[in-house]
């Protein structure tokens, strides 16, 4: 089961998907693409291994994806 957490005003919103369920994958992919179009940055995170990488396209095999809003210099 994959989980995508989108940071927002509520703290974060979680979208789960079953990689074997095409409908789940489609919803998760659509959300991913929508957030990317808004300027969000996506990361695939592997908490147990302490690793992560930036994602440019949705990966249904990822265990956890984080989406953070666009940053600017302050």
């Amino acid at each position: 089961m994959g989980a995508m957490q989108v940071m927002d005003r509520t703290g974060h919103t979680t979208i789960n998907w079953d990689p074997s369920n095409p409908a789940d994958v489609r919803v998760a992919r659509d959300t991913f693409d929508e957030m990317k179009a808004k300027g969000f940055t996506a990361f695939r995170v592997e908490l147990q291994e302490g690793r992560g990488a930036r994602l440019d396209s949705f990966d249904p095999t990822a265990a956890k994806i984080m989406l953070i809003p666009q940053m600017a210099g302050g």
Partner: protein
């Protein structure tokens, strides 16, 4: 206060209490003072300037970088305080929980004690200290050993998400997209104040 006036590329500081001058009055009633600069080597003889003894477009006070930065930070601090106060307590607690989930045990302990934690740049292995003040103003310190080289400021709109999410976002950008973070971050000199 000293005034600066330059001619021919020469910049000199003029004491405010200069007295060795003769005076003349313009047709509009402005009193001009004449004084001599002996350090100007742009001409064979010591040149003279006429300048008004009031602040003019030629003269400006010495720029205080520390005071200017402090004033800028104060203005931004007030603006961000309003934004962060607008977040619900439940949202802030959820964001803090997500941040804790993504910290290592050492980072978690350090954060609980000191309200900051250190991360390593994914590409450069540079150490950065992310400070959890009540705002995001230049809250990322670039470390050189135990000392701070300078500060970086890059964050999303404070109204968009609670503070805990901002800190986690900065951590992830530094660890997984360091080049992008450095490209957007503004760099501030460290003057020793918060």
């Amino acid at each position: 206060m000293a005034w600066r006036y330059g001619r021919n590329g020469t910049v000199v500081w003029i004491p405010d209490n200069i007295t060795s001058a003769s005076t003349t009055t313009t047709g509009t009633g402005t009193t001009l003072y004449r004084w001599v600069i002996t350090t100007d080597t742009s001409s064979a003889t010591a040149p003279t300037w006429y300048y008004p003894r009031v602040q003019s477009s030629y003269c400006q006070p010495r720029y205080d970088a520390v005071a200017a930065q402090r004033a800028l930070f104060e203005r931004e601090r007030a603006r961000q305080a309003v934004a962060f106060d607008g977040h619900a307590e439940a949202a802030s607690a959820l964001a803090d929980g997500l941040l804790m989930e993504h910290l290592t045990p050492e980072q978690r302990e350090c954060f609980k004690q000191n309200k900051w934690f250190v991360v390593e740049g994914g590409k450069s292995k540079q150490k950065y200290r992310i400070c959890a003040k009540d705002n995001l103003i230049a809250n990322v310190d670039v470390l050189e050993g135990d000392s701070i080289c300078h500060r970086l400021c890059a964050h999303a709109d404070p109204k968009v998400m609670p503070l805990g999410d901002h800190l986690l976002a900065q951590k992830m950008m530094i660890e997984y997209a360091e080049d992008n973070f450095l490209r957007v971050a503004n760099r501030h000199a460290y003057h020793g104040h918060a």
